[in-house]
Amino acid sequence: MAEFKPKAIAFICNWCTYTGADLAGTSRMEYPADFRIIKVPCTGRIDAEFIIKGFEQGADGIWISGCHIGDCHYQSGNYFAQRRWSIFHDELEFLGIDTRRLKYTWISASEGRKFADEATEFVERLKELGPYEDFDQIIPKIEESGASVGGDG
């Protein structure tokens, strides 16, 4: 059997983590390729909808990362993000979402090493967890329900 290749999404802020990821690149630090980055200006921009939609798109894991507390490029965006995730994380757990598939980090622009390490940890963790089948079960199959994923109406 072929090795399970996770499908994962990372929402990262433009100023710290994205720059940190760039630094990992300029420093040629290797890490697994199993996630796709969506750049947002600030972690404060990250809406719970992005996460739910991510899982609905079949993501095995979602990673959110931004500037360290106190270092937000926009002063306080990550403070709001932190509170939101804190409550949402608990709620997702309560509603039966496998929260081990959610990863949260603060990675600064200078932490290229940390980015590569956390990326590796994230993918390794997802590989260990295997495919996220819970969500798969509730995704409507076109041939069964006639509904398409997402923008139906």
């Binding site: 720059t19 990821a21 990992a24 040629r28 290797e30 390729a33 002063q75």
Partner: protein, 661 residues
């Protein structure tokens, strides 16, 4: 219907080595809306740009995806190209297939697969882009410079000479910084104060420089071109404008003799609570230290200083003031700290007599210093031998890992000066001699010729030689000579620890106040280590001198002038162009709950009243003030009905990227 052009850059071999750029291009051609896709060796080169320019025109493109290096690198380049080719620049996006793909993956199949996804996501995003028009913002033609060492002084003078108003803030009672403490400067051996003090007076005298000493920046609000800065002016208790520095107050202070460690002399001398920090202090006035003044600590003092002052300058009722200034740009020249010698117990600083720091030696060598230029042991005699230990606290896994860059040169300079001004033989204990710089190697060779002994090896221990009274006597430096491979014990009368640079003690707080990042070692972080070395990620905030990293005076001065030039570039315009990536409100559906207002870090959300034809208020909706909005987006995340969105990263753009995964 979208007409999107996709360009896949090889970046020489940088991308092409791990990404099959040809297949990516072929796949891209099959996506709906992609009317043109091409790969090219260097998209950023002139020929590369002209291919893109031609494609934009020929295919009448409505969207442009450049898949190359990080957008941080060339997004501006390509957006400018788009603009020059008649396309709205905000219809161009870069997908990062170098830093975040080819450079971090080695397997070509994996790299290619990921690159295809990354390009596709950006194509989907661009499909949702719409033209944006830049926002114009007014510019305040005034600059804040924080820190008045040589870096801040140079930057202020450059800016003021170019006709800008400067507000120069210094936390100490006098300007001058570390350079004012130095004796002579390498490699030319000019007297430090002789070259600095004219600049200090020039700052004081310049009509366009407002100097605020003994002051600190409390709060910074706003954005490039339009900062509002609150400055806390601590009371000097001496009216600065009246005092002429006659010294009468100091002479008549109730403390007959100086009693408190003198900060400027690195604790080598003593001062009174009222004092003039050093002879060339600027402003040249007295200053009362609230920590040691009897009147200010106990409220009980005869206040002999007040009666002695011929001009009634002393005012114990003086209180802290907050001054607000509007500036368009900020230069941080807040300097550095030095490694704490107490953290090197093996060298005995503070425990063994005659172990000094390099800055203390600078003061000792200074003709206006505590010994008036004489090199003296604690007992008042002249040393016969002096050991200088390079890299104290630098290049050391147990201390600071980095090289402080200037210690080799200043250690050699100290060796030269000590041998010149005393009879002593100097031993320099070094790991490597790093003498890179104009005239630096030559200076090193000159010092060697002067019979300064250089020994390669990091000393392990300094202790008293066990002889004489109470076990005290000469110091023994235990070291090794790594050239001959032998252990050595070198007896010396005096030791100088060449301490390395560290981030200033206030660097953490300063970084927060000015909203800038710090590098792993704690110095302020530049926007780009090579290409934007004095800019920061916060537009309009620049960093120069020791706060950015260890550097010598010429380099500091060069940075100061570089930052001044950058600031002039911004403030020479009458209007600033701001990125139009700001939030906007769907007024039709906004219910005016103003949750967005509460999470906005910039108070950019205003209330707009919707009225009927008779002027009756129907409802209130949110309104974004374009000139305050930074486009960060917590407003969009919290809005329950998604009536506020951020241009450039709209929810549709995020949704469409998610939807193709």
């Amino acid at each position: 219907m979208a007409r999107i052009g996709v360009f896949i850059c090889h970046c020489g071999e940088n991308i092409a080595r791990t990404v099959d750029v040809v297949s990516v291009t072929e796949v891209a051609r099959t996506w709906p809306g992609v009317v043109y896709a091409e790969d090219y060796r260097f998209c950023c080169s002139d020929p590369g740009q002209s291919i893109i320019r031609d494609a934009i025109k020929e295919h009448n493109l409505t969207g442009l995806v450049i898949s190359a290096c990080s957008p941080k690198m060339h997004e501006k380049t390509f957006r400018n190209l788009a603009k020059a080719s008649g396309m709205n620049p905000y219809l161009c996006e870069c997908s990062n297939i170098r830093e975040q793909c080819s450079w971090v993956h080695h397997d070509k199949e994996v790299g290619t697969e990921k690159a295809i996804d990354l390009v596709r996501m950006m194509v989907e995003k661009v499909r949702m882009n719409h033209p944006l028009e830049p926002i114009e913002a007014p510019v305040t033609k005034r600059v804040l410079v924080v820190g008045a060492g040589i870096a801040g002084i140079q930057a202020s003078l450059d800016l003021a000479e170019a006709g800008l108003e400067v507000v120069l803030v210094e936390r100490n009672p006098s300007i001058g910084g570390h350079m004012a403490q130095l004796s002579e400067t390498f490699p030319t051996l000019d007297c430090s104060m002789c070259i600095l003090s004219p600049k200090m007076s020039a700052v004081k005298e310049h009509p366009d420089i407002k100097l605020l000493t003994y002051s600190e920046v409390e709060k910074v609000e706003g954005f490039i071109g339009n900062y509002t800065v609150s400055i806390r002016k601590k009371p000097r208790y001496v009216i600065e404008d009246l005092c002429v520095g006659c010294n009468e107050c100091v002479t008549h202070c109730v403390f007959k003799k100086p009693k408190f460690p003198d900060e400027f002399n690195e604790g080598l001398g003593k001062r009174k609570p009222v004092y003039i920090p050093f002879p060339q202090a600027t402003p040249q006035g007295a200053f009362i230290d609230p920590e040691t003044c009897l009147q200010l600590t106990t409220g009980k003092c005869k206040q002999t200083c007040v009666t002695a002052c011929p001009k009634d300058c002393i005012d114990f009722e003086m209180v802290e003031e907050i001054e607000e200034v509007e500036v368009g740009a900020i230069i941080l020249a807040t300097g550095f700290g030095t490694y704490k010698p107490e953290l090197l117990p093996q060298y005995g600083y503070g425990k063994l007599d005659n172990v000094y720091t390099s800055l203390q030696m600078e003061r000792m060598l200074s003709s206006s210093g505590p010994t008036e230029g004489e090199i003296l042991l604690k007992d008042g005699t002249a040393p016969k031998t002096v050991g200088i230990i390079h890299c104290a606290g630098s290049r050391d896994e147990n201390a600071n890992i980095w090289c402080s860059k200037v210690c080799c040169m200043y250690s050699l300079k100290l060796a030269h000066l000590i041998q010149e001004f005393s009879e002593a033989q100097v031993f320099n204990f070094y790991i490597d001699i790093r003498a890179a710089g104009k005239g630096y190697e030559e200076f090193y060779l000159k010092v060697i010729e002067e019979n300064v002994m250089v020994l390669r090896g990091r000393p392990a221990l300094i202790e008293y030689e066990e002889q004489g009274n109470n076990g005290k006597g000469n110091l023994l430096v235990h070291t090794e000579d790594t050239i001959s491979g032998t252990k050595l014990v070198v007896p010396v009368d005096m030791v100088v620890l060449s301490l390395g640079f560290e981030p200033d003690k206030d660097a953490v707080q300063l970084a927060k106040t000015f909203n800038i990042s710090r590098s792993p070692e704690g110095f302020f972080m530049e926007r780009h280590v090579k290409l934007a070395p004095v800019a920061t990620t916060t537009d309009g905030v620049y960093i120069v001198g020791g706060c950015q990293g260890p550097k010598d005076i010429p380099e500091t001065v060069a940075q100061a002038s570089a930052a001044a030039a950058s600031v002039l570039g911004i403030l020479s315009k009458d209007k600033l162009i701001r990125e139009p990536t700001v939030a906007r409100v769907n007024e039709l559906n906004c219910i005016g709950c103003f949750q967005c207002e509460k999470v906005c870090p910039y108070s950019a959300i205003e209330h707009k009243e919707i009225r009927d034809h008779d002027g009756n208020l129907i409802r209130e909706v949110a309104l974004v003030n374009d000139s305050l909005c930074h486009g960060c987006g917590p407003c969009a995340a919290i809005c329950p009905s998604k009536c506020i969105d951020v241009d450039g990263i709209t929810e549709e753009q995020i949704y469409s990227q998610l939807a193709v995964l």
